[in-house]
Chain length 141, copies 2
DNA sequence: CTGGATGCAAAGGTTTTGCACGCTA
DNA sequence: TAGCGTGCAAAACCTTTGCATCCAG
Protein backbone atom coordinates (compact mmCIF):
# COMPACT_ATOMS: atom_id res chain seq x y z
CA UNK A 1 0.00 0.00 0.00
CA UNK A 2 2.99 2.27 -0.26
CA UNK A 3 3.40 3.38 -3.84
CA UNK A 4 0.37 4.00 -5.95
CA UNK A 5 0.70 5.31 -9.47
CA UNK A 6 2.39 8.53 -8.55
CA UNK A 7 4.98 10.53 -10.31
CA UNK A 8 8.15 11.72 -8.73
CA UNK A 9 8.10 15.26 -10.00
CA UNK A 10 10.88 17.68 -9.39
CA UNK A 11 8.67 19.48 -6.89
CA UNK A 12 7.85 16.35 -4.93
CA UNK A 13 11.44 15.21 -4.81
CA UNK A 14 12.71 18.53 -3.55
CA UNK A 15 9.97 18.87 -0.96
CA UNK A 16 10.80 15.44 0.39
CA UNK A 17 14.51 16.14 0.22
CA UNK A 18 14.32 19.41 2.12
CA UNK A 19 11.96 18.02 4.72
CA UNK A 20 14.33 15.12 5.41
CA UNK A 21 17.18 17.55 5.91
CA UNK A 22 15.30 19.43 8.60
CA UNK A 23 14.83 18.48 12.21
CA UNK A 24 12.62 21.46 12.86
CA UNK A 25 9.25 19.91 11.98
CA UNK A 26 8.28 22.84 9.78
CA UNK A 27 4.80 24.01 8.96
CA UNK A 28 3.70 23.88 5.34
CA UNK A 29 4.49 27.52 4.75
CA UNK A 30 7.89 27.31 6.43
CA UNK A 31 8.74 24.44 4.13
CA UNK A 32 7.34 26.41 1.21
CA UNK A 33 9.78 29.23 1.91
CA UNK A 34 12.67 26.80 2.04
CA UNK A 35 11.73 24.92 -1.10
CA UNK A 36 11.20 28.20 -2.88
CA UNK A 37 14.91 28.83 -2.73
CA UNK A 38 15.41 25.88 -5.07
CA UNK A 39 12.15 26.18 -7.01
CA UNK A 40 11.19 29.83 -7.05
CA UNK A 41 8.01 29.23 -9.02
CA UNK A 42 6.52 26.53 -6.79
CA UNK A 43 3.16 27.32 -5.24
CA UNK A 44 2.02 26.82 -1.69
CA UNK A 45 -0.83 24.66 -2.96
CA UNK A 46 1.69 22.28 -4.49
CA UNK A 47 3.50 22.01 -1.18
CA UNK A 48 0.24 21.15 0.58
CA UNK A 49 -0.75 18.64 -2.09
CA UNK A 50 2.60 16.91 -1.95
CA UNK A 51 2.72 16.79 1.81
CA UNK A 52 -0.68 15.14 1.69
CA UNK A 53 0.42 12.55 -0.82
CA UNK A 54 3.68 11.88 0.93
CA UNK A 55 2.05 11.46 4.31
CA UNK A 56 -0.54 9.09 2.90
CA UNK A 57 2.29 7.04 1.46
CA UNK A 58 4.00 7.01 4.82
CA UNK A 59 7.02 8.88 3.50
CA UNK A 60 6.54 11.81 5.87
CA UNK A 61 4.64 12.33 9.09
CA UNK A 62 1.83 14.80 9.46
CA UNK A 63 1.77 16.00 13.06
CA UNK A 64 -1.76 16.95 13.92
CA UNK A 65 -1.55 17.09 17.66
CA UNK A 66 -1.65 20.76 18.59
CA UNK A 67 -0.97 24.36 17.78
CA UNK A 68 -2.86 25.91 14.96
CA UNK A 69 -0.81 24.85 11.97
CA UNK A 70 0.04 21.30 11.09
CA UNK A 71 3.70 20.39 11.17
CA UNK A 72 5.57 17.83 9.14
CA UNK A 73 8.37 15.41 9.92
CA UNK A 74 10.64 13.77 7.37
CA UNK A 75 11.75 11.19 9.92
CA UNK A 76 9.17 8.42 9.94
CA UNK A 77 11.00 6.17 12.36
CA UNK A 78 9.20 5.63 15.64
CA UNK A 79 9.99 8.47 18.01
CA UNK A 80 8.18 10.85 20.34
CA UNK A 81 7.71 14.58 20.09
CA UNK A 82 7.77 17.52 22.48
CA UNK A 83 5.67 20.56 21.82
CA UNK A 84 6.39 24.00 23.16
CA UNK A 85 3.28 25.11 25.00
CA UNK A 86 4.11 28.69 24.22
CA UNK A 87 4.92 28.80 20.51
CA UNK A 88 3.91 25.40 19.18
CA UNK A 89 7.36 24.40 17.96
CA UNK A 90 8.01 20.66 17.93
CA UNK A 91 11.15 18.77 18.86
CA UNK A 92 12.25 15.16 18.92
CA UNK A 93 12.59 13.16 22.10
CA UNK A 94 15.99 11.49 22.17
CA UNK A 95 15.11 8.35 24.07
CA UNK A 96 13.33 5.49 22.39
CA UNK A 97 10.18 4.99 24.42
CA UNK A 98 7.62 2.21 24.19
CA UNK A 99 4.20 3.12 22.86
CA UNK A 100 1.49 3.14 25.52
CA UNK A 101 0.00 -0.31 25.92
CA UNK A 102 -3.44 -0.41 24.39
CA UNK A 103 -4.55 -3.80 25.66
CA UNK A 104 -6.18 -2.67 28.88
CA UNK A 105 -7.57 0.53 27.47
CA UNK A 106 -11.16 1.07 26.43
CA UNK A 107 -13.48 3.90 25.54
CA UNK A 108 -17.21 3.60 24.95
CA UNK A 109 -18.05 4.01 21.28
CA UNK A 110 -14.48 3.59 20.09
CA UNK A 111 -12.24 0.84 18.86
CA UNK A 112 -8.79 1.82 19.99
CA UNK A 113 -5.97 0.89 17.68
CA UNK A 114 -2.88 2.55 19.09
CA UNK A 115 -1.51 5.14 21.42
CA UNK A 116 1.33 7.60 21.56
CA UNK A 117 3.09 9.47 24.31
CA UNK A 118 3.23 13.18 23.76
CA UNK A 119 5.36 15.56 25.71
CA UNK A 120 5.01 19.23 26.46
CA UNK A 121 7.42 21.84 27.63
CA UNK A 122 9.05 25.08 26.67
CA UNK A 123 11.56 25.63 23.90
CA UNK A 124 14.71 27.68 24.29
CA UNK A 125 13.40 30.62 22.31
CA UNK A 126 10.38 30.93 24.58
CA UNK A 127 12.32 30.46 27.79
CA UNK A 128 14.50 33.39 26.94
CA UNK A 129 11.43 35.15 25.64
CA UNK A 130 9.81 37.92 27.60
CA UNK A 131 6.49 38.76 26.01
CA UNK A 132 5.01 35.72 27.70
CA UNK A 133 3.77 36.86 31.07
CA UNK A 134 1.09 34.44 32.21
CA UNK A 135 2.29 31.15 33.68
CA UNK A 136 0.27 28.68 31.68
CA UNK A 137 0.38 31.17 28.85
CA UNK A 138 -1.57 31.02 25.67
CA UNK A 139 -0.43 29.27 22.60
CA UNK A 140 0.78 31.62 19.92
CA UNK A 141 2.78 30.91 16.89
CA UNK B 1 -4.05 31.87 39.43
CA UNK B 2 -7.54 30.62 38.81
CA UNK B 3 -9.94 33.51 38.96
CA UNK B 4 -8.90 36.86 37.66
CA UNK B 5 -11.32 39.73 37.64
CA UNK B 6 -13.86 38.08 35.46
CA UNK B 7 -17.58 38.29 35.43
CA UNK B 8 -19.90 35.37 35.40
CA UNK B 9 -22.25 36.50 32.71
CA UNK B 10 -25.33 34.58 31.74
CA UNK B 11 -23.58 33.54 28.54
CA UNK B 12 -20.49 32.27 30.30
CA UNK B 13 -22.49 30.35 32.89
CA UNK B 14 -24.65 28.63 30.31
CA UNK B 15 -21.71 27.76 28.07
CA UNK B 16 -19.95 26.17 31.02
CA UNK B 17 -23.12 24.47 32.15
CA UNK B 18 -23.89 22.91 28.79
CA UNK B 19 -20.31 21.85 28.21
CA UNK B 20 -20.24 20.07 31.55
CA UNK B 21 -23.40 18.19 30.66
CA UNK B 22 -21.87 16.82 27.49
CA UNK B 23 -19.49 13.92 27.11
CA UNK B 24 -19.15 14.48 23.40
CA UNK B 25 -16.22 16.94 23.43
CA UNK B 26 -17.98 19.33 21.10
CA UNK B 27 -16.37 21.79 18.73
CA UNK B 28 -17.04 25.48 19.31
CA UNK B 29 -19.78 25.60 16.71
CA UNK B 30 -21.46 22.44 18.01
CA UNK B 31 -21.57 23.99 21.45
CA UNK B 32 -22.80 27.22 19.90
CA UNK B 33 -25.80 25.41 18.42
CA UNK B 34 -26.58 23.83 21.78
CA UNK B 35 -26.23 27.02 23.78
CA UNK B 36 -28.34 28.84 21.21
CA UNK B 37 -31.34 26.84 22.34
CA UNK B 38 -31.14 28.62 25.67
CA UNK B 39 -29.71 31.93 24.47
CA UNK B 40 -30.97 32.46 20.93
CA UNK B 41 -29.12 35.75 20.49
CA UNK B 42 -25.67 34.58 21.54
CA UNK B 43 -22.97 34.92 18.93
CA UNK B 44 -20.36 32.42 17.88
CA UNK B 45 -17.67 34.94 18.76
CA UNK B 46 -18.89 34.99 22.33
CA UNK B 47 -18.67 31.22 22.50
CA UNK B 48 -15.09 31.34 21.28
CA UNK B 49 -14.15 34.12 23.67
CA UNK B 50 -15.66 32.34 26.65
CA UNK B 51 -14.11 29.01 25.82
CA UNK B 52 -10.78 30.81 25.69
CA UNK B 53 -11.28 32.43 29.07
CA UNK B 54 -12.60 29.26 30.67
CA UNK B 55 -9.74 27.16 29.38
CA UNK B 56 -7.19 29.67 30.60
CA UNK B 57 -8.79 29.52 34.02
CA UNK B 58 -8.62 25.74 33.93
CA UNK B 59 -12.39 25.37 34.06
CA UNK B 60 -12.57 23.58 30.75
CA UNK B 61 -10.07 21.73 28.58
CA UNK B 62 -9.16 22.85 25.10
CA UNK B 63 -8.29 19.81 23.00
CA UNK B 64 -6.09 21.06 20.24
CA UNK B 65 -5.83 19.39 16.93
CA UNK B 66 -3.86 21.28 14.35
CA UNK B 67 -5.57 22.24 11.17
CA UNK B 68 -8.97 20.94 12.09
CA UNK B 69 -11.44 22.14 14.66
CA UNK B 70 -10.56 22.33 18.30
CA UNK B 71 -12.73 20.42 20.73
CA UNK B 72 -13.63 21.23 24.31
CA UNK B 73 -14.10 19.16 27.42
CA UNK B 74 -16.01 20.23 30.52
CA UNK B 75 -14.40 17.46 32.54
CA UNK B 76 -11.03 18.71 33.74
CA UNK B 77 -10.20 15.70 35.89
CA UNK B 78 -7.18 13.76 34.71
CA UNK B 79 -8.21 11.33 32.00
CA UNK B 80 -7.06 10.26 28.55
CA UNK B 81 -8.74 10.74 25.21
CA UNK B 82 -9.22 8.71 22.06
CA UNK B 83 -9.48 10.41 18.72
CA UNK B 84 -11.20 8.87 15.74
CA UNK B 85 -8.66 8.89 12.93
CA UNK B 86 -11.46 9.16 10.42
CA UNK B 87 -13.76 11.91 11.65
CA UNK B 88 -11.84 13.53 14.50
CA UNK B 89 -14.44 12.83 17.17
CA UNK B 90 -13.02 12.48 20.67
CA UNK B 91 -13.98 10.06 23.42
CA UNK B 92 -12.92 9.42 27.00
CA UNK B 93 -10.76 6.51 28.02
CA UNK B 94 -12.40 4.70 30.93
CA UNK B 95 -9.32 3.50 32.74
CA UNK B 96 -7.27 5.82 34.87
CA UNK B 97 -3.78 5.66 33.41
CA UNK B 98 -0.57 7.10 34.76
CA UNK B 99 0.97 9.99 32.88
CA UNK B 100 4.10 9.07 30.96
CA UNK B 101 7.13 9.45 33.18
CA UNK B 102 9.10 12.51 32.20
CA UNK B 103 12.18 11.94 34.31
CA UNK B 104 14.24 10.02 31.76
CA UNK B 105 13.03 11.98 28.78
CA UNK B 106 14.97 14.71 27.02
CA UNK B 107 14.87 16.66 23.82
CA UNK B 108 17.51 19.09 22.60
CA UNK B 109 16.34 22.67 22.87
CA UNK B 110 13.39 21.87 25.09
CA UNK B 111 12.60 21.77 28.77
CA UNK B 112 10.05 19.03 29.13
CA UNK B 113 7.43 19.56 31.78
CA UNK B 114 4.91 16.79 31.34
CA UNK B 115 3.55 14.13 29.06
CA UNK B 116 0.23 12.63 28.12
CA UNK B 117 -0.88 9.39 26.51
CA UNK B 118 -3.09 9.89 23.52
CA UNK B 119 -5.02 7.13 21.86
CA UNK B 120 -6.31 6.71 18.35
CA UNK B 121 -8.93 4.48 16.86
CA UNK B 122 -12.21 4.48 15.04
CA UNK B 123 -15.56 5.57 16.39
CA UNK B 124 -18.76 3.63 15.91
CA UNK B 125 -20.17 6.01 13.34
CA UNK B 126 -17.09 5.63 11.15
CA UNK B 127 -16.90 1.86 11.56
CA UNK B 128 -20.38 1.48 10.24
CA UNK B 129 -19.57 4.15 7.70
CA UNK B 130 -18.97 3.27 4.07
CA UNK B 131 -17.60 6.30 2.26
CA UNK B 132 -14.22 5.59 3.77
CA UNK B 133 -12.44 3.32 1.32
CA UNK B 134 -8.73 3.62 1.96
CA UNK B 135 -7.33 1.67 4.91
CA UNK B 136 -5.47 4.35 6.74
CA UNK B 137 -7.95 6.79 5.33
CA UNK B 138 -7.70 10.50 5.48
CA UNK B 139 -9.06 12.61 8.24
CA UNK B 140 -12.31 14.30 7.43
CA UNK B 141 -14.72 15.97 9.67
C1' DC C 1 0.54 10.26 -25.61
C1' DT C 2 -2.02 10.26 -21.08
C1' DG C 3 -3.40 11.35 -16.95
C1' DG C 4 -1.30 12.76 -12.73
C1' DA C 5 0.88 17.19 -11.17
C1' DT C 6 1.50 22.13 -11.37
C1' DG C 7 0.70 27.34 -10.80
C1' DC C 8 -2.47 30.61 -9.98
C1' DA C 9 -6.19 32.43 -7.81
C1' DA C 10 -10.36 32.01 -5.68
C1' DA C 11 -13.08 29.71 -2.28
C1' DG C 12 -13.70 27.28 2.08
C1' DG C 13 -13.70 26.56 6.93
C1' DT C 14 -12.34 27.99 11.52
C1' DT C 15 -11.02 31.46 14.67
C1' DT C 16 -10.05 36.20 15.95
C1' DT C 17 -11.02 41.08 16.31
C1' DG C 18 -12.86 46.15 16.10
C1' DC C 19 -16.54 48.67 17.56
C1' DA C 20 -20.44 50.58 19.93
C1' DC C 21 -23.51 49.20 23.35
C1' DG C 22 -25.02 46.41 27.48
C1' DC C 23 -24.75 44.61 32.01
C1' DT C 24 -22.23 42.59 36.20
C1' DA C 25 -20.05 43.55 40.31
C1' DT D 1 -20.55 53.75 37.65
C1' DA D 2 -16.53 51.37 35.60
C1' DG D 3 -14.94 48.47 32.57
C1' DC D 4 -15.48 43.61 31.23
C1' DG D 5 -18.45 41.17 28.08
C1' DT D 6 -21.64 41.06 24.20
C1' DG D 7 -23.51 40.94 19.31
C1' DC D 8 -22.47 41.86 14.83
C1' DA D 9 -19.70 41.86 10.97
C1' DA D 10 -15.43 42.02 8.87
C1' DA D 11 -10.90 40.30 8.78
C1' DA D 12 -7.35 37.00 9.48
C1' DC D 13 -5.53 32.58 8.95
C1' DC D 14 -4.69 28.12 7.24
C1' DT D 15 -5.93 24.79 3.87
C1' DT D 16 -8.30 23.07 -0.12
C1' DT D 17 -9.86 23.30 -4.90
C1' DG D 18 -11.10 24.47 -9.99
C1' DC D 19 -9.01 25.07 -14.11
C1' DA D 20 -5.98 25.38 -17.95
C1' DT D 21 -1.49 23.86 -18.82
C1' DC D 22 2.62 21.01 -18.17
C1' DC D 23 5.42 16.99 -18.06
C1' DA D 24 6.90 12.14 -16.16
C1' DG D 25 6.45 7.62 -17.44
Amino acid sequence: MENKSQRMTKQRRIILDELRKLTSHPTADELYEIVRQRLPRISLGTVYRNLDVLSENGEVLKLESAGSQKRFDGDVSQHCHVRCVSCGRVGDVQEALPEPDVSGVSAPGFTITHGVSEFYGVCEACRGGDELAAPGGRIRQ
